[in-house]
Amino acid sequence: MEWKWDFTLQILPRLIEATGATLMAAAFGYLIAMVLGLGLALAQRTPYGALTRVVREGVEFIRSTPLILQIFFVFYVAPQFGVTLSPWVAGMLAIGLHYAAYLSEVYRGGLESVDRGQWEAATSLNLGTAHAYRRIILPQALPNAIPGMGNYLVGILKDTPMLSVIGVGELMHTANAIGAETYRFLEPFTLVGLIFLTISLPLAELVRRAETRLRRKLGLVK
């Protein structure tokens, strides 16, 4: 088997286009995960013990079962309850929920790393709970959460190929389609791998830099 350059050039535009879809899937999924994850983290800090336990178990469940199965679950089970989801919507929900569980742990760690004295100072100034979270606690928790958040941003990107199984037209799906049409797998699959490398390596580096920048901006380093 030999690498064919003309074939490579021929399929490259299609793969690059699909890369856009992959990036979009990762971005949307991550957005959902960030918001939902914060909810899951805060729900575990309420004074209601039962809520904390239920959310905790739910997070554990999601974290310890395969994402690909969760994608199938959301996609096929929703119609049983009368809601038909497009592959994109089902995919975003599943991957968003999966990573929300991971991000909630990152947030939780970040929130717990904030000194208790910060809460006491906020109380002594009579700042309300919501205000204290927004202006005092979260800005300090966030820098501690950034490395973990960054890792999962790279993680979600690398998990988007799983969306191909329900027909989301991202990179992997496109590579599969090309393979099925041309019976050539070497170039499409290798290119997909290379494209992922070219995105995820610089992304990981970017995350590292963002962390240092943020810490400096918030006055947390001298």
């Binding site: 000194d115 100072a121 002594s124 005092i136 300090q140 006055g219």
Partner: protein, 272 residues
């Protein structure tokens, strides 16, 4: 656990009511009883210092007054109104969030470890509460904060982040931050304990100034006996969650009645 609160008045009235009153206040952590039916009154404008051995409950008293700890028994009144409780009909019930939020506005606190907000400059630390809690405009809050930073000698450093300030400077900003909320009662919990000895003076100077120039009610915990003697109207010696002895500084330091007080003071003097 519900306690019988029938003996407690719904409010304190009259011209000579105290600014702060602990009425039969008890507090336990599990089996450890930290405070045992504490009765303590602080008059308006009075400076009271609490001294006593480690673990005797000094910090707990201040934290309860700042509503950072709940109490098991008794009632705390501030400026005539119950703080830990609120009237419902003609009985007192446990304070809810809204009551606490309203009554807590009377109290300000400075902590041993400053607890400045590290992501805000000195000035922002001092304007956060006035803008968002008191509803001042940015300009008003800024004027107020600058005036106070001037008073504590920190005006030059108003745009510095806490990480770039020394311990003494941080504590002075923390004092300005608390004062910016215009509390009626100020609490100081060992505000010089985390400082290097040579800079404790810059903080105690500020407190001296407060005593001399403002009619603030103050409750202070300190291990600096000389300082306490100089500026306090009254000293309370705590032992095992009770007030063992209290009185004007010259009496308590000069002629302590209780044997425990004598032991404590001589131990402290030896240490010096």
């Amino acid at each position: 656990m519900t306690q019988d609160l029938t003996g407690y008045p719904l409010a304190l009235t009259g011209p000579d009511r105290p600014m702060v009153r602990f009425a039969g206040v008890s507090k336990s952590y599990g089996d450890l009883q930290v405070l045992d039916r504490l009765d303590l009154e602080v008059a308006e404008g009075e400076m009271v210092t609490i001294i006593g051995p480690s673990g005797s409950g000094k910090t707990t008293v201040l934290r309860m007054l700042m509503t950072l700890e709940t109490i098991d028994e008794g009632v705390i009144y501030v400026d005539g109104n119950p703080l830990t409780h609120m009237p419902r009909g003609d009985v007192l019930v446990r304070a809810d969030r809204h009551h606490l939020r309203r009554e807590r506005a009377n109290i300000g606190m400075c902590f041993q470890h400053f607890n400045l907000f590290p992501h805000m400059t000195a000035l922002e630390n001092c304007t956060e509460g006035p803008i968002h809690v008191l509803g001042l405009t940015k300009a008003e809050a800024r004027d107020r904060a600058e005036e106070l930073l001037e008073m504590v000698g920190m005006i030059d450093k108003r745009d510095e982040f806490p990480a770039r300030l020394s311990g003494g400077q941080k504590q002075r900003v923390a004092i300005a931050r608390a004062l910016a909320m215009r509390p009626k009662v100020m609490l100081f919990d060992e505000v010089t304990s985390a400082l290097d000895p040579e800079v404790t003076g810059e903080v105690t100077e500020v407190i001296r100034k407060l005593v001399a120039q403002h009619n603030l009610t103050m409750l202070m915990v300190t291990h600096q006996m000389g300082f306490a003697r100089d500026i306090s109207d009254r000293i309370c010696f705590f032992h095992n969650g009770r007030i063992e002895e209290q009185g004007p500084p010259q009496d308590l330091f000069g002629n302590p009645q209780s044997e425990r007080t004598q032991q404590f003071l001589s131990a402290v003097n030896e240490a010096i």
